[in-house]
C-alpha cells in the first residue's frame, strides 16, 4: 500500500489530480476492524474540469508510465487494484474537502470521514457491505476526530 499511496501523492503533486481521498472498504478500515477486500476505491477531483464529460485518461497514462498496470476497470499499483472515481455529486466533493489526514507507513494520505463513507455506501446501494452504517454504529471508533 505504501507504493500505491506514494504514487497517488506524486500524481497529485504533478497536477494530474487536484485532490483525492480513500473510500470504500479500505477507507472504512481506518475506523473499523479490517474486512477482506481486494481493491481500493479512490475518489478524485480532477483539475480544470469544465465539461460534463470526464476522462480518466490522464490518470491512466500517468500511472502506466510509472509502473501501473491496467486491469479491467482498475489500475494495479503496488499490488492493489485501484479504481479511480471522479466525484460526481456534492456529497462526494464534501467527503474530499473534509477528508481525514493520516499516514500509512509514514506516507501521508487522506481518508473520507466516516459519515460520508456510510452516506455514499447508502447512496450507491452498498449498505450491506462490511462498512455498513450498523458496522460503524457497533464500533465506538467510528469518529473522524479520532484520527490514528
Amino acid at each position: 500500500m505504501k507504493v500505491t499511496l506514494e504514487l497517488m501523492n506524486q500524481m497529485q503533486a504533478d497536477g494530474v489530480i487536484e485532490t483525492y481521498a480513500i473510500g470504500g472498504a479500505v477507507g472504512a478500515t481506518f475506523y473499523l476492524a479490517p474486512a477482506a477486500t481486494v481493491d481500493v476505491y479512490v475518489f478524485v477531483i480532477l483539475p480544470g474540469r469544465t465539461g460534463l464529460l470526464l476522462s480518466l485518461s490522464p490518470i491512466y497514462q500517468y500511472l502506466k508510465s510509472h509502473g501501473g498496470k491496467e486491469q479491467d476497470e482498475y489500475i494495479v499499483l503496488g499490488g492493489w487494484p485501484v479504481q479511480f472515481l471522479p466525484c460526481s455529486n456534492e456529497l462526494e466533493r464534501e467527503a474530499l474537502r473534509d477528508a481525514v489526514s493520516t499516514k500509512v507507513e509514514g506516507v501521508p494520505t487522506w481518508v473520507m470521514p466516516a459519515e460520508h463513507l456510510v452516506a455514499i455506501a447508502l447512496n450507491t446501494g452498498r449498505a450491506k457491505r462490511p462498512y455498513s452504517h450498523s458496522a460503524f454504529h457497533r464500533t465506538a471508533c467510528g469518529r473522524p476526530s479520532k484520527a490514528r
Binding site: T29, F30, Y31, L32, P34, A36, T37, V38, G79, K103
Partner: protein
C-alpha cells in the same frame, strides 16, 4: 476472546497495522480464488441444498 471484543481491539489498531492485515486478507483471497476452493465449496453447498429442496416439494 468474544467477537465484539476482538472487533473493537482490531478497530483500535493503527491504520498502518490495519493495512497490513488487509494485505494479508487480500493475499488469502487471491490464494483461495487461484486454488479453485471457492468454486468447489459452491458445488458442495449446491449439492447439500438439493435434498432439502426435494423435501420442500
Amino acid at each position: 476472546m468474544s467477537k465484539p471484543r476482538l472487533q473493537a481491539r482490531l478497530a483500535a489498531l493503527r491504520f498502518t497495522e490495519k493495512i497490513k492485515i488487509l494485505e494479508k486478507l487480500r493475499d488469502r483471497e487471491h490464494a483461495i480464488s487461484a486454488s479453485g476452493l471457492r468454486a468447489l465449496r459452491g458445488k458442495v453447498s449446491a449439492a447439500r441444498a438439493k435434498p432439502s429442496d426435494v423435501n420442500e416439494k
